[in-house]
Structure formats: structure tokens, C-alpha cells
Symmetry: C3
Subunit: 192 residues, 3 copies
Amino acid sequence: MESYMHKTADVSPKSKIGENCRIWHHAQIRENAELGKNCVLGKNVYIDAGVKIGSGVKIENNACVYNAEIGDDVLIGPHVTFTNDPYPRAFIWDKSRVGKKIVVKKGASIGANSTILCGVVIGEYAMVGAGSVVTKDVPAHALVYGNPAKIKGFVCICGMKSEKKQEKAGSILFECPKCRKTFEVPKEVFEK
Amino acid sequence: MESYMHKTADVSPKSKIGENCRIWHHAQIRENAELGKNCVLGKNVYIDAGVKIGSGVKIENNACVYNAEIGDDVLIGPHVTFTNDPYPRAFIWDKSRVGKKIVVKKGASIGANSTILCGVVIGEYAMVGAGSVVTKDVPAHALVYGNPAKIKGFVCICGMKSEKKQEKAGSILFECPKCRKTFEVPKEVFEK
Amino acid sequence: MESYMHKTADVSPKSKIGENCRIWHHAQIRENAELGKNCVLGKNVYIDAGVKIGSGVKIENNACVYNAEIGDDVLIGPHVTFTNDPYPRAFIWDKSRVGKKIVVKKGASIGANSTILCGVVIGEYAMVGAGSVVTKDVPAHALVYGNPAKIKGFVCICGMKSEKKQEKAGSILFECPKCRKTFEVPKEVFEK
């Protein structure tokens, strides 16, 4: 199905948009940005030049995505802000100062109004609680929140907080209380 | 007086707008939303489908109101973000997962750039300080702030921090140092 | 060079705009606001009535500047929110309640999604980390972050965190590890 773009959206002809996306009011997609298929971009979302986004991604109102690589099935809540300069100064700008890319891996979710510092990697199916400031990497399946965000538990693919079920050699097995899916977390992550 | 809507605002014909409202640039009001009279909606405000809002409400620039019921005379500061999904996943969406409604009661104020988690009830004349993350109910007249927001005092209808004046059987009587109005706070709230 | 204004920007004819500025999509500049030369205003930036802004200032997407005086070469990150009412109530509004002005001095930077309380003075070349809530004055060259923001170090004009090099009578001399510029911080600021 062809993608829908609201008449007030500004989508660069030099961007690449997959099929069946919906791009809402005042959203802007800059040159050389790439969007997979089946994505939804809310009102006033901003996708900076060169940002790569997978398929099935949902980006909510007013989120600003700079300097990032976004995997499939990622959710970015409203007002989430990515950053691209670790030492921002209005009067100094050269490419060597741009911060390392933010990477958000398959299935992860970032709660409303969170701020993500440059260079951070958010692991598969991780979940960042609303209003967080994420200053360091988030392991796969971790639930983090706060300012700065800290690990507060581990979540299932379905999003539910899961319980420790069994200790294994190098990892901990978790089981979801709702859907009964399991996943493993490396011991050194669990013990942090 | 007839309501004013800026020409760039997008107000659903299926919403209900009271008289004498002012709705500014790029604001969007979705279907089945209801707005009382004498409200002001700032630039780029978003009111989600079905949200009910009282009269005399002021919602400032870029605030996103999802999943909520807003009483009369409420103030919602700029960039305030409501949330509607406690376990957000881009790839799972069914109505049973929508979080409980946020309720903001008469006369309460929510400071700039605060984030409100779903299910939270903000009591009458409560005040949420700027930049807060509100994760649990806020009692009437309470002043809360921080991430997570905690009770830091109690405020008058006029907004001023008030002082404990007298201990009563089940409550504490507060008096405003400025306007001399009084109000009561239940003992169990005060002692938390 | 003449300033560029995107066709969707709304710039009051009663504002004053210096030369060679770039004002992007949906930005709004209210009456009696003043902007120096060589400024950049991102998407959906809002400059309130009467705000004075110096030259070489960069204000990123969705930032809302109320009630402020902004020096030359200041950077205001995306989603930064200024505040203008210390006791906000939707139903009370008189000029005597407007909070003291926020002052941001030459060369300072405010990180993404930060919230600035009214009356705060941010000193020359200070740096506010992303996601901060700034509740009190920030000394010149200080690096602050967190909610509430606290002093975590001192930064060079170029933005790098600098090291204590020498103790002097009433001040501490810092040297930048990268550009070798030096600056002084009063002892009473350092010891806080």
C-alpha cells in the first residue's frame, strides 16, 4: 500500500520512504533519511538528515531523532529527544565534534519525554520509562528509568516485567508472568 | 463570544468546542474530544481523541494530552506530556493495554515539561513543579516535584506555599501567607 | 545577507530580526522580540513577546523561550523549555505574578530537553547537560546537570571539561586538556 503523508508534512525528495507508512501533520523528514515500511510518524516528528529507521517503527508526536540508527519495531514516545553533540557550543561546529551515533535495537521502546545522550546503545526489547535521561548503554530486555536512567528490572518481548526463574551457567533465565515467554540476561548485566 | 481558531489549527468537526476559546497555531483537536468554554490552547498543542476538558483550562505550547479527563481551571504548562500505555511496544496494540485514564482535578497546575504516567490522579489545586515525572497520585493542594515527583509542601488555591496553622482531629489546617485563605489536608497525607 | 524565513514561519512584523538569520518551519517570533544577526531558529521554536536575543544564537527544534534575555553565542538545545510563572494558576493572571527574567549569558549552552525555572541566571560559557531541571543560578564556566541540576565540573570556552591547574588567592585556575585555554573560577563557587 502506498504511504500516506499529511499535506502539511515536509518529506525530502532525497529521503527514502517504505510502503504503507503514515506520516502526520508537520512531520519533517530530511534528505538521505531512510524509513522502512509500516512506520507511523506522529505530529511534528523530526527525522534528521541521514537517520536510518527500520520497519514497523512508531514515532510519536514531537519526537526529534538526530544522529541515530533505529531497528525494526522500535517505539519512540512523544517528546523524546535524541542528542548529537556531547559538547554543544553555538559558535563551534565541525564534524569531528558530532557525538557517536545512538543505536536503538529491534523491538525496544523509549517512554515519553525521555532524553537520549549521544553514543548510547539501547538493546533489543529494552524499555526506557517515561521522563528518563539515558546516559549509558541499556542492555537487551532491561527496564530503565530515572535521571540518570538505571536498571530497575527486565521485561519480556511483550513488555511485561518478568521474574527470575532459573540461574544458569553464565546467565539468568526470566519468564514473563503473562505470556510465559522466556529470555536470558547475562549474569554480569544482572548483577550490576 | 465565538471561539477563535488560528487558520493553521486542525480541529475535528467531530469534536465539541465551548464558546470563547482561543486555539493557536498548529494545535490539533481530535474527534470526540470535548473542550469547555474560555479555554486557551497554545501552539502545537495536541488533544487526543475522546479527551474531556473542562472550562477555563489553559494548555501551553506543545503539550500533548492523551487519555485524560481535565477539570475546570486546570493549567497544563508547555511541553507537558501525558502517557497512555504502561507497557509500550510498537508491535503490540490492543485496547486492553491502554493505561488507566489520567485525571486532573479542578484548579490544579502542571509545570512545564512534566511527564504524567497513566492512571495518575492529580487532586484539586495541586501543583506539579516544572520538569517533574509524576508516577503516582498527587493529593489535593499538594506541591510535588522531582523525578519521581514527591510531596514538598502544600499550596493555596492562589498557588502560594502555605504554612501549617493548626492540628485538627483528622487533618491539618493550612493558611496562605499571602491571601490568608485556609484549607485542610488529611493527616495521613501530611504524614507521608 | 538577508535573513531566510521558511514560508511556514510566523514572524511578527513588530519583532526585530538581524541580518543573516535562518528561521525554520513553523517557528514563531512574537511582537517586540528582538533577534541579533547570524542566528538559527529550528523547527517549531517559539520566541515569546519581548524576549531579547543576541547574535550568533542557535535555538534548536521545539524550544520555547519565554521571559528571557539571551546573550551572544548561546546555544539552546531541542525541546528546552523556559518558564515564566513561579505559581502558575489558569484562573489567576496579573503581571505582578510573572516570574523574574531568565538570563543566559554569552556563550552558554543548554542541553536538550532541559527546563529552566524563572529568575535563573546562567553564566558565561556555562553548560547545562541534557534533560536537566535548572532551579538556581549557574556560575560562569560551570557544568551542571540532573534534576535538580548541580555543579559537576567546569568547562572551557570550547566546551571541554577542564582540570584544576593552580590555586590562586581567591580563585582556582582551570586549563582545558584540549585547547589549553585557561579560565578562573572563584573559590567560593568551586567549594560549593
